[in-house]
Each structure stands twice: as C-alpha cells, then as structure tokens.
Symmetry: C2
Amino acid sequence: MLVFLTPLGAVLALGFALLMARRVLKAPQGNAKMIDISQKVRKGANAYLKRQYTIVAVFFSAMFVLLSVLAFGLKLLTPYVPFAFITGGFFSGLSGFVGMKIATAANARTAQAASDSLNSGLRVAFSAGSVMGFTVVGLGLLDLSVWYFLLKYGIGLPAGEITSAMLTFGMGASSMALFARVGGGIFTKAADVGADLVGKVEAGIPEDDPRNPAVIADNVGDNVGDVAGMGADLYESYVGSVISAMALGVSAANAIGESVSGDQAVTIPLAMAGIGVVASILGSFLVRTKEKANQKALLGALRRGTNFSAVLIALAAFPLVWKMLGWAHIGVYGAVLSGLAAGVAIGFFTEYYTSDTYKPTKNLAETTKTGSATVIIGGISLGMVSTVAPAIIIGISVLISFFVSGGASNPALGLYGIAISAVGMLSTLGITLATDAYGPVADNAGGIAEMAALPKEVRERTDALDSLGNTTAATGKGFAIGSAALTALALIVAYIDRIDELNLKRVADGLQAVALNVELTNPVVLVGLLVGAMLPFLFAALTMKAVGRAAQSIVNEVRRQFREIKGLMTGEAEADYGTCVDICAKSSLREMILPSVVALLAPIVAGLLLGPSGVVGLLAGALVSGFLLAVMMANSGGAWDNAKKFVEAGNHGGKGSDNHKAAVVGDTVGDPFKDTSGPSINILIKLLSMVSIVFAGVVLAAHLPL
Amino acid sequence: MLVFLTPLGAVLALGFALLMARRVLKAPQGNAKMIDISQKVRKGANAYLKRQYTIVAVFFSAMFVLLSVLAFGLKLLTPYVPFAFITGGFFSGLSGFVGMKIATAANARTAQAASDSLNSGLRVAFSAGSVMGFTVVGLGLLDLSVWYFLLKYGIGLPAGEITSAMLTFGMGASSMALFARVGGGIFTKAADVGADLVGKVEAGIPEDDPRNPAVIADNVGDNVGDVAGMGADLYESYVGSVISAMALGVSAANAIGESVSGDQAVTIPLAMAGIGVVASILGSFLVRTKEKANQKALLGALRRGTNFSAVLIALAAFPLVWKMLGWAHIGVYGAVLSGLAAGVAIGFFTEYYTSDTYKPTKNLAETTKTGSATVIIGGISLGMVSTVAPAIIIGISVLISFFVSGGASNPALGLYGIAISAVGMLSTLGITLATDAYGPVADNAGGIAEMAALPKEVRERTDALDSLGNTTAATGKGFAIGSAALTALALIVAYIDRIDELNLKRVADGLQAVALNVELTNPVVLVGLLVGAMLPFLFAALTMKAVGRAAQSIVNEVRRQFREIKGLMTGEAEADYGTCVDICAKSSLREMILPSVVALLAPIVAGLLLGPSGVVGLLAGALVSGFLLAVMMANSGGAWDNAKKFVEAGNHGGKGSDNHKAAVVGDTVGDPFKDTSGPSINILIKLLSMVSIVFAGVVLAAHLPL
C-alpha cells in the first residue's frame, strides 16, 4: 500500500505549487513601467517557448511514428513504448513551461516586493521557486503513478515489463530536457554574451541598461534557459533516478529470491519520492525570517529548510526499507544515507570552489592583475582541480552504497543500492529546486529594477538575493551532477540487464544469443570507452560554438541599432528589442538540433557497429568524461562569475578598471561553460543510456557481429 | 638472429647522430654578438639541466633504495628491477641532454646559415634535429639490447621474466620523461608567458627584443622544454612501445602454443625498431632541395623523407612477421600497417585543426574581431571538436589490429597486434623526430637573429623554417599521441597478465589468489574508471597553475628591471638576464615535484585501496580522458598560436590591432596547454601503467580486500 504514497505525493506537490502560485500572483506588480517591461519579457519567453515546442513536437511526432513502426509493425518494442515516450516528453516540457510562466509573472512582483524589504523580496522569489520545484516533482510523480498503476493494475504486467516500459518515458523526458537545456542555454547565453560584448565592453553602458537593444532578450533568456531549461532538466533527473532504481529493483528481487518480490523492491523508490514531497513541504515552511533579516540570516533560513527536509527523509526511509525488504536487507538504507551525504558534500565543494568567500575564487580574482590570459588559465585549472573532490565523493558513495546493500554477496542488490542512493539524493528535490530556481527570478527582478530606474537600494537588494541564489544554486548543482552520475551508472546496469533479457528471449526463439563481454580486456569495450568519452567533448564543443555563433549575430544586430537608431544612446529613442529576441530564438532553435541528434544517434550507431559490449563501453566512457567535464565547466564558469562580482564589489580596482575588464573576459567565457554546455552534459549521459535501453531490441536484431 | 638488428640499429643510429653532429659543428657560428647570445643561452640551459638532474638524481637514488629494499629485503620484486629502473632514467635523461647540447650549439649556426639561404638554414637545423632523433632511437635500442642480451644470454632468463624486468626500465624512462617534460614545460612557458605579458603587452616591444630581461630565459626554455623535454619524452614513448609489445608477445606466444616461441614474438618489435633506424637514415638522405627552394619545396623534401621511411618499414615488416610467426599469423602484419596509417591520419587531422591553411584556424582568427572572450571560446571548442577524429581513428586502428591479428579466436594474439601497431607507428621515430626537433632550433635561431640585429630577411627565413616546423611538428604530435594511447592500452593488458602471473605464484605458495574482475559491472572497476579519468584533469590543472605561478614571478621581475635599471628601454643599459633564468629554473624545479608525485603515487594508493580490479579501471579511465585532454589541449594551443601568426601576417588588422591583442590572449592561454600540460599527459598515462605493473607484487601482498 506504500506505493500509494506516490500519487498522494503528486497531489500534495501540485496542490502546494498551486498555493504558492496564488501567493505570488497576489503580490503587487509595481508601476506601469515595470509592468510594461515584465510583459515584454513574458511575451518574448512565451513566443520562444511556443516556437521551441513546435519544433520539438515535430521531433516527437516523428519519433512516435518510428517507435510505433518498431512496436506494432516489427514487434521489436512493446506497445507501450510510443505512448510512454510522448508522456515523458510532454510532462518534462510542461514542467519547464509552468516554471517559465510563474517566473515571468514573479519578476516584477519580486522587484516591487524588494522595494519594501529584502525579506519580502525573498518571499515572493522563493514562492515562485517553490512553484517550479513542486510542479517538477508533482508532475514527475503523476507521470510515474499513472503509468505504474495503469501497467500494474490496468494491464496486469509483471514488475519487470513495467519498469522496462517506464524507461521509455524516461527517454522522452530526457529528449525534451536536452532540447530545452540546449536551446534555452544557447538563447540565454547568446543574449547575455552579445549584450555584454557590445553594451558593457564597447559602448560602456551598465548591465541591464534599457538603451541596450539585447537587454530584453537577455531577460527572456534567463526565463527560457535558466528556468524552463532547468525545469525540464530536473524533471528528467528526478524521474530518471526513480525509474532506474525501479528497474534495478526488479533484478535485485529476482536475485534475492522469494523473500522479496519485484513489487516490493519497486515500491522503495516510488514511496521515497512521495515521502520526499511531504518532507519538502514541511521544510519549506521553515524558510522565513524576521522582517529585517540580513543576507546571512536569509541563507540560514534557506539552509534550515533544506536540511530539515533531508533529515526527515533520512528518518522516514528507515521504516520504509525495513518494511519492504525485511531486516536482512536493511543495509539498503545505508545507500539512502550515502546518497544524501554525497549530495551535500558535492554541494559543499561546489560552493567552496565557486564562492568568493573561499580561497579559490579569491585567488582567481587576484589573477585579474596580470590580464585576461591569466584569468582564463586560472579559471580552467580551478575547474579541473575541482573535479577531484566530486569524483572521489561519488566513488566513495558508489562503493558504500554497493557494499552496505550487500553487493559483495549479491551484486544485483548492491547495484540496486547505488540506484537507491541517487533517489535518496534527489528525494528532497521539491525544496532544493525551490532554493535553486528562485535565483533567476531574483536576477530578472534586478534587471527590471534597473530598467525601470527604481531606487538604488532595490537593485542592491535584488543583487543580494541573486548572490544568495548563486550559493544555494551551488548546492542544487551538486545534487544534479551527483545524481546524474549515479543514475547514469544505474542505467548502464539496466542496459546490461535488458540485453540479458533479450538474449534469453532470442535463445527461446531459437536464435543465437548476442555475445556480451564487458571486460576491459575486450577491445570492443575499450574502443566504446574511448569513443564514449569523446562524446561529451564533442557535445560541449557543439553547444559552445552554437553560443558563439548566435552571440555573433546579436553583436552585429546591437551594433547596427546603435549605429542606425538616432537618439538611442541619449535615451530619446527606444531600442528595437523584438529583433534581438527574434534572432536569439531563431539561432538557438536552429543550433539545438545537431547536438541533440548526436546524442540520440550515437548509441544506436555504436550499437549497430560495435554491438552491445561496445555500447556498454560507450556509456561508461561518456559517464566518466561527461561527469568530469560537467563539473569542470560548471565550476570554472561559476568561479569566473563570482570573481567578476568580487572585483565589481570594489576589490582589485573595482568596476571599470583593467582588472575588471579581465574579469569580464573570464565571465564571458564562463557563461556558455556553466549555463549551456555543462548542464546539458548531465542530460546527455543519461539520454545515451536511455536510448540504448529502448533501442536494445532493434540493435540486437540488426547489429553487425563484432 | 633477427634480434641482432637491434644492437646493429643502435650502432647505426648513434653513428649517424655523430656524423650529423659533426656536420652541425662544422658550420660557422656567426659574428661575435651571435656567439655571445648563443653562449648565454647555452650557459642557462646547462645550468638548468644540471640542477634538474641533481634533483632527479635524488629522486632516483631514493627510488633505487626503495626498490632495492623491496627486491632484496622483502623479495617482492626481481633483483634486476632497481638497476633497470636506473638505466631507463639515465638514458632518457641523456637523450634530452644530448638534444639540448646540439640544439644550443646549432641555434647561432642556423641563424648564420640562414643569412646565406633558406636551404642552408634548413640543412643546419635539420641536421641538429637528426642528431636528436637518432640519439633518442640509438640510446633506446642500446638500452633495449643491453638488457635483453644480458638477461637472455648472460643470465638465461625465460622470455616472460625478461620482459617483466624490462618493463621496469620503461618506468625509469617514464619517470625521467615526466620530470623533464613537466619541469622543462613549466620553465619554457613561464618565461614565454612572462616575457610576452610584460614585454609585448605592457611595454609594447617586439618578441625577442634584447631589452626584455626575460628574453634569454625564453630561449633557454625552448631548449630545456621543447628540446630536452621532448627528447626524454620520446625516448620513453619509443622504448615503452617496444617493451609493451615484447610483454604481450610472450603472452601471445603462450596462447598460440608450440608453433611460436616467446623469443620469436619478442623479436618482432625489437627487430622492427632496428629496421626502422635503417629506414630513417635512408629517408633522411632524401631531405635535400635545390639551393633556391621555396617553403613548399622544403616541406615536400621533409615529407618525402618521412614517407619514404614509412614505406620501407611497411615493406620490411612483412618478411619479418612471416619469418617469426609463420604464415598462419601473418595477420599481425596488418597491425603494423594499421599503426602506420593511424599515425599518419592523426597527424593529418592535427595539421587540419591547427594550421592556418585550413578552415578551423582561419575561423578562429576571425573570432578575434569580437575580442578575447570569443577567441577563448572558439579555441576551446576547436580543441574539443578535434578529439573526434583521433578517437575514432585510434578506435578503428585498435579494432583492425586486434581482429586482423586473429584476436577473435585468440585474444592474446589480438592484443599483441595492438601493441605491435604502436611499434609500427613509432618505428620511423628517427626521422619523424628529426623533422620535429628542428623546429625549436629554427625558433631559437630566429631569436638570435632578432637579438643580434641581423638583416630582416634572415628573420624572415628563420620564421619560414619555424612555421614549417610547426607543420611537421603536427605530424610528430600525431605519432606521439597515437602511440601513447596504443602503448597505454597494451600496458593495461600487460598489467592484467602480471596479476594473473602473480596469482598463480600465490596459489603455488599456498596463498589465496586476489580476485580480478575487470567487468564494467564491477563497481570497483567503475570507481577506478572515474578516479582514473579525473587524474589527467588534476594533472593538467597542477601543471597549468604551476606555469601561472612561475610566470607571475617573471612578470614581477621584468617589471622591476624595467623600473629600476635606468637606460634599459633606450638600449643604453643591458638587462639582467641571469636573474630571470634563475627564477624560471627555481620555480620550475619546485613546481615539477607535486604533479610527478601524484602520478607515481596514484596507482599505488588505488591498488592498496581498490585492489587490482580498481587499478585496471583507473588505468583505463586515465587512458581515455588523458588521450582526449592531451589532444584537445595540444590542438587548442596549436590553433591559437597559428591564429595569432595569421593575424600577425597582416590579416584582420595585423600586428598592433585590437584583434591582434585578442589573438595574443589566446596564444598565451594556449602556451601551457600545448607545451606543458598536453604533452605531459601522454607520459602520465603510460607512467601510471608502468608503476602499476612494477608495484603489482607489492600491492597484491598488501592490498585491502575490496
């Protein structure tokens, strides 16, 4: 019956999101100027998402047809696959859409609230973040529940076939997330980089100055990239971790024997996600402070909320594991704790390497004295060094999860433990995402304050909120990256299980089993490993180049407007914001295709050429190099951003100095690192596995014998 | 008897090197000013290498004591290990030393010869490069011969024990190479970056201007980094590929059974190296042109030489393989061809991505229009994209080598084929290294021409030679990187063989065998993979940071001299060159310790904590991520360098323009990428394997049971 916690969690989460949305919408919108700007941003974001979803719909329709042919025509897939694929994509997109809607509604309101006090600003922004956080988990649990109950009670499938059908909606969610992250990431960074390069560097006008024609595009970008992209992304992470744990749960139950059923093993991740919602809602009530709180007190409030939720989950998971697996396998509970601890630890190191309160970023700010080249060298090496701790933490967490769950005597159980640790890490996503998603809202509020020429202290308050958001976002990133690695690892195992299963069927059908040898001495595995490790490099390059090209178009357009629109610099004429939004939208939609196609085709091509052993190598290679690159790019970017802010706060010569110019170069390079390529890689490594699993049957039927 | 080709090759190579050295020394040294500068450079380089070798000697003595204790006290190693370790280090160091000696003798002579004609300049520089190339292969073959004949005919060991002792001298060579590459790489780039940052950017004086106090240090750096470092590096690559092929040859012969003996399998790599010397000497006679040749004709001459040598090897390897393995295993010959082809193909793509005659670097030069940030983003994504082709080429080469050698039915034979393909790739090292090593000589000659105020056309000619050198160096890098990947792969297999062997001994001694499960489903392997993949990132970061810190000291010193030495800028007073050389030497020697210690300790610590399965994961992870990072960093750096030269040649505004300044930032970031971190990683991935193999016995005896 514990499995009913999942739909219950879905209802609670969506209800809470609605409540928070009402609270946001009740807040006053500010003066006419603010409403006007906010509407422009909203219009741009809406228009962009509409176009993005249109293109994505074409892709999903084509995939639906392809999957239907494979499922109904060639019988290579189960009949649920095409439908599950669509729902995953739909809910992932919806998560992003809702997040964007509330964020664009909240930006002017946050600016207005910040006119009263820092704390009021926080409350509006955090409420908006909560809408996003709880919508993501609510929709995730809804999709999980509907499919689980339909397949189990409606159709009566055994646990193994249920999880294998449900992996398909993970693939749908990942595909959508990749489009949203890549497209949105290119949009936001092209606008940001383009606006900075001409506005700040060439024309010497401040950030968010209304005279800059790209300023609305920049704000639209925050909403479609940092908000809608992040929503789709974390939806994918969330359901991905649950589904992969369900899949490995079935294998673990089979390996254990009669004492534990597949249903019981599957219940743990589902129920834990449901409990996580309750814990997150309770935790978010703690995020409140006195009216006159300073920044440190605010951070304390946010921390209190997330920590409380984590403790609740840690307590509730114990009886859950005990009840489902029995005392003999209580060790799996250790995996939950290890996942939670790893998430917190990675978050700490992310903050350590990217916050200007610690040495690394301070030292990076110091390098501005010798010019931009040393800033770049310093930032890249900082990012590279910052991979050490997360790699070791994930390593320790994997080993602990595996061995405490009993992997030494029963590997399937140990691998299930690893997947459960990812679920543990993400179970409090409702609240961690709320603390993460409120950052872009505050950022946007700052932009509106600037453009609407609100008093200086308003901008200072939104900046304080924004900077606070950077810190909490570091923790959020820790969870996102850590869970991506653990989930991807679980999915590799799920892929191997899937191949074994298909091979049994082949043998039963009188066909030869396809050899699967995943030893590192198998050259096919090694070649897969090398090619797989190369994919994140290719992917990062494609997305960065895309940002570069799109930014270039914006630079040219802004230069043109400065040149051709008379009176723009003196404030007598208004800039043509729409064209910049339009250019960003067009470029980012065009540029998001190629990276996504690479991600979808690579595992299929590898499967056809190298066979399943090569695919396992490919997935493992992409996992390790992708994890490291994602950490490196996120932390280099974060540190550059904060080093620049540190200089702007008056250190090393402050704003306008040569040091500041050098810091801006670092920040500009860091933009696509941290907001386009880095986060997309997290999705990539999971999508590769999901595609491999879904197309495993096709690949086995058609692969060349290597 | 074919094995006698190895000592014969050693004698021929060293004799040819001597001949070439005489030819260089016969050339006139130029005027008094040139002799004076050349002597300063020579003195600085000598002094540095003396200090470096002193520190390295301490390390080698300590290791000798440690290895002796393990060998003679605890009986965990064979008694040859400590001595073999020392000789490997000694010859690797000697290769670098001889290269440096001849390069510092040739720089002024090349400048003088270039006063006559481009072709005369080429002949002196190429002769100097040949001294280096043939010294490296000559000393390599000498060391190989001495140990092989001593262990085989002197002591009468079986083939298996011979190769396992000889792997130790590979470890000695790799350790020395790492010190030389890292130390020299830090020296040269600290001087270069420091000189550029203050001289070019701040003071606005041209490169190699004698008023710049760091100019001599910069030239010294070319000799201790690009020459001595490269010599030690390629010595290590060369013997590493031969030894690993020997080791796998023994396993292959065991797996084949009676028809092929271990001695026969071992003979192929040894004899092929010997034949390679003959092929290289014959090829180098083709490197000559008409007196009035243009640059294209010169490149043609160089290409003719290397291609001819490659064809000779391809022809000679056929009867060799046939004779040694019999017609049944002639497929191994296919591995030789595949190695040669892969080296050429990677070289082509290196050139494609880094030469300004192709689109990628041209496009990179284009990004200078929008400032340094876009130059950095463009260069990094170029480097990342450039990993695709090499990864696929190595992948194809591995599969071809494995399967044509008969790996499908006999994996040991297939793995031997992979190792042989690396030997094939490096067999013509004598001549490819000559075409590679002459570049720094020409570069230095240009510096001397500038400082001695020789006529403008001399500098133009040395620049032409230098730029030609960049092109041929690209091919050289292709071979170095490709062979590193293949050799490292072979060494992983050799490690597994070693563990199997030790386990047999343990069982014979009544001990329990240590479990070895290298499947990717083993979490210990996955954790090893992740941590191993992280090591090159850490290593690159440490070396880059070291360059940054050392460059910082140079910047401060140069600024001090500009400030305090009156009349320096007007040319009335001479700069204090010695202090800059001294600072570079001190910093680089201090900074080379930590990265080297990491490389040596990581596999031992991993072995103790994770056991041999974890070590295999670690080695595979380091191999794939190291290969990709090395390619990326080398190509980003090369492209930035050439994009800057492209701008300096008058494109996009030419010298002194804002675009040029942006290009200089790229070049400065690229310096440690391509000349410090990138090449060191190639050594790292092999050293990790060698250390693992040598300490395998110790680790098995002491490891914690995971």
